[in-house]
Point group: C2
Chain length 338, copies 2
C-alpha cells in the first residue's frame, strides 16, 4: 500500500485540476502495477509521411488499454483512504475491465454498470476479473439510474470513469513516460471520449512544454467534445452510432474545464477512416488496435499534410477489438501513402 | 560506413561459427539501422500459464521481421569490403525484403530470386524497396538454378539467407538485447527454418549462460531440422505444405553444425496450433504475427506444462501476415487457459 497521500485525505481534490506534482505522484504510485509501454518509431514511415511520428502503444498496456493507469490510481487511493465496502463504476468496457483487474489485485470488490450493447470481448474481460455486472440501456439516463440504484444499496465508493482528478492523474502517466523518451514532441494527437485520457495527456504535455499542441480526436458521429469546446459549454445528446464504442461518452465538468484550457483543436474522423487505420496498424505496425484506439492514427493519416516536418505523437489508446471488427478492418481499403 | 572489420577481410570467416566478439561487433555495427524491439511481459498471463514468459517482439522490427538484422550486417560488410556490383539473394520474402531495405539505405543494387508462391505482401515489400525480382518454382533445385543464372551474369555478391556467419551474427543481436533486459532466462523457444535466427539465438544465449535451454520450433510439415539433428546429418526433401511459409528452408552446413551443438531439442507444432497462437496474439497480446512468427508461441502454449515454474523466452520472429491469413486465424478456436 502506498503512503497515504494528500489526495486521499481531501475528497474535494477529486474535483480539482491535478497539479504537476499530483501527476508525478500518481506515476510513482501505479508504477508497480502498470506496464511502461513502448513508443514505436519507424524512420521509413517518417519518410513516407513527411514528418516524425512517435506512437505510444497503450494497446500493449496490461488489459489492452490505457485505462489500467487511472483505474489503478483511483483504486489505490480509495483503499488508502480506509474505505471498506465495494467499489462501483460505469463503463462500456475498458475502464470497467481495468478497474476490475486493479480491484482483484488489491483485494477489493467491484460492481460495474454496463450498457447491454458493450462489446462481448470487454464484457468477458470484466467477468474474468470477477467484477459483478449490472446491465443497462446504452444511454446516459439509464446508466445514471443504474448507478444510483447500486449506490442506494449502501457503502460503495464510486469511481467515475474519467471526470475524477485521481483518474486523470493516473492517465497522465502514459504521457510522462512518452515525453521522457521523446522530449522533442511538438504535436500530440489523442482520442477524446469523456476526456480523462485527453486531460491527463494535455496536463502532462503542457507541464513539460506549454508550446506542445495537443489535438483531441473524435469520430464524427460522436463529435460532442468538438461542439462543447466551440460552444463554451458541455453539449449533450450529440452522440450517434459509431464503431468507436469507447469514444461515445460526453465530457464532464472537470474534463471540460481542462480541455477548454489545453486543447488546440478537436479533429474529426469517419468510421471508414478508422477501419483503414486499423488495417494500416495490422499491416504496417503489426499492432492490433480497436476502433477507438485507432482514431488518433486515422486523424494523423488524414491530416498528415498539416503536420508536415513536425514531430508528432499519436496515442494508440487501446487494442481490445472483437475478432469480427478486426476482420472487417482487414477488408478496408489500404490508406495510400504518401 | 563502419570501420573495416576483420570479417570483411577474410572471406573464409563467412563459413565459420561466429565468436562472441563477432556477435558484439555485429550488434554495434547494425545498431543505427535496426530497432531495439520491446520485450513483452504480462504478469497476469504468467499467472494463467504457471511460468514467467518474456516475448521478444521481432514482429515489431522495421520491416516486420528479425531479418533486417542479419541482412543489414551482411550488406554493411560487403559494402565495407569494396564490392562495387549488385548483391544477390534468394528468399520467400522476409529476408529479401530486409536485404532490399538494407541495400536501398546503403545505395546498393539487389536482385532477389523468389519462389512464385511467396506471399503477396512479401513480394510487394521487396518491390517497394526497389529490388529486382527473379521468380522461380518453389523448390530448392529451381531456386539454385535461378541463382546460378544471375551469378553467371557477372559481378554479384551473394548473401545467403541464413548459412552465413555474417548473417547469423546479425540475427544474434536480438538475443543480446533480450538477455540484457531479462538476464535470468532459463529456456528460449525460437523457430527454425534454415537456422540463421536459431543459430544466432543459441550462440548469444550460450555466451551469456551455457545452461540456457534453447528449443527450436518447426511445423510438423517441415520438421527437417528435427530429423537432421536426430540423424546427425542434414536431411532433405522432408518439407511439405504448411501455413508457415517462412519455415520451409532446410539447414545449411554452418547452421547444422551450430544447432547440433546448441539446441536442446526441436519441438513440433501443427498449422491449427499456429493459427490459434496467432489469434491468441491478436486478442491477448494485441500483436499481429505471421504463421512462422507465431510458431514458438504455439509451441509454448502446447508444451506449457513442461516449462512450469521456469523463466521462458519466446521469440515472436515476424508479423508479415497477409490479411487473408490473419482473417483465417481470427476464426481459429481460442486456446483454453490455463
Amino acid at each position: 500500500m502506498p503512503n497515504l497521500p494528500r489526495a486521499a485525505m481531501d475528497p474535494d481534490s477529486r474535483a480539482a485540476v491535478p497539479r504537476f506534482d499530483d501527476l508525478l505522484a500518481a506515476r510513482a504510485r501505479i508504477a508497480p502495477f502498470v506496464r511502461r509501454t513502448p513508443v514505436l518509431h519507424d524512420p521509413e514511415l517518417d519518410r513516407l509521411l513527411g514528418l516524425q511520428l512517435f506512437m505510444k502503444c497503450e494497446n500493449l498496456q496490461i488489459g489492452g488499454a490505457f485505462k489500467l493507469r487511472g483505474a489503478t490510481h483511483a483504486a489505490l487511493l480509495i483503499a488508502a483512504s480506509g474505505h471498506q465496502g465495494r467499489l462501483l463504476t460505469q463503463s462500456s468496457g475498458n475502464h470497467g475491465a481495468a478497474l476490475a483487474l486493479a480491484c482483484r489485485r488489491l483485494g477489493l470488490a467491484l460492481t460495474v454498470v454496463v450498457p447491454r450493447t458493450a462489446p462481448r470481448s470487454k464484457i468477458e474481460a470484466m467477468r474474468r476479473e470477477g467484477a459483478e455486472l449490472v446491465f443497462c440501456e446504452p444511454d446516459q439516463a439509464s446508466r445514471d439510474a443504474a448507478v444510483e440504484a447500486v449506490r442506494a444499496e449502501g457503502d460503495v465508493a464510486y469511481v467515475h470513469p474519467f471526470d475524477d482528478s485521481w483518474v486523470i492523474a493516473g492517465q497522465a502517466s502514459a504521457t510522462l513516460e512518452w515525453l521522457e523518451e521523446v522530449p522533442k514532441l511538438e504535436v500530440i494527437l489523442v482520442p477524446v471520449s469523456g476526456g480523462g485520457l485527453a486531460s491527463g495527456t494535455a496536463l502532462a504535455a503542457h507541464a513539460h512544454d506549454p508550446k506542445i499542441e495537443v489535438f483531441g480526436v473524435e469520430p464524427s458521429a460522436a463529435a460532442d467534445a468538438r461542439a462543447s469546446l466551440a460552444a463554451g459549454s458541455i453539449q449533450r445528446g450529440l452522440v450517434g452510432p459509431t464503431l468507436c464504442d469507447a469514444l461515445r461518452a460526453e465530457l464532464g465538468p472537470l474534463t471540460f474545464r481542462i480541455l477548454s484550457a489545453h486543447l488546440a483543436e478537436v479533429l474529426v474522423v469517419e468510421d471508414d477512416e478508422v477501419l483503414a487505420a486499423m488495417r494500416f496498424a495490422c499491416e504496417r505496425l503489426k499492432l492490433v488496435l480497436e476502433p477507438s484506439g485507432a482514431a488518433a492514427l486515422a486523424a494523423l493519416l488524414k491530416a498528415r499534410h498539416r503536420f508536415r516536418g513536425r514531430c508528432v505523437g499519436v496515442m494508440l489508446s487501446g487494442g481490445n477489438a472483437d475478432p469480427e471488427t478486426l476482420a472487417l478492418a482487414l477488408q478496408a481499403p489500404v490508406p495510400a501513402l504518401p
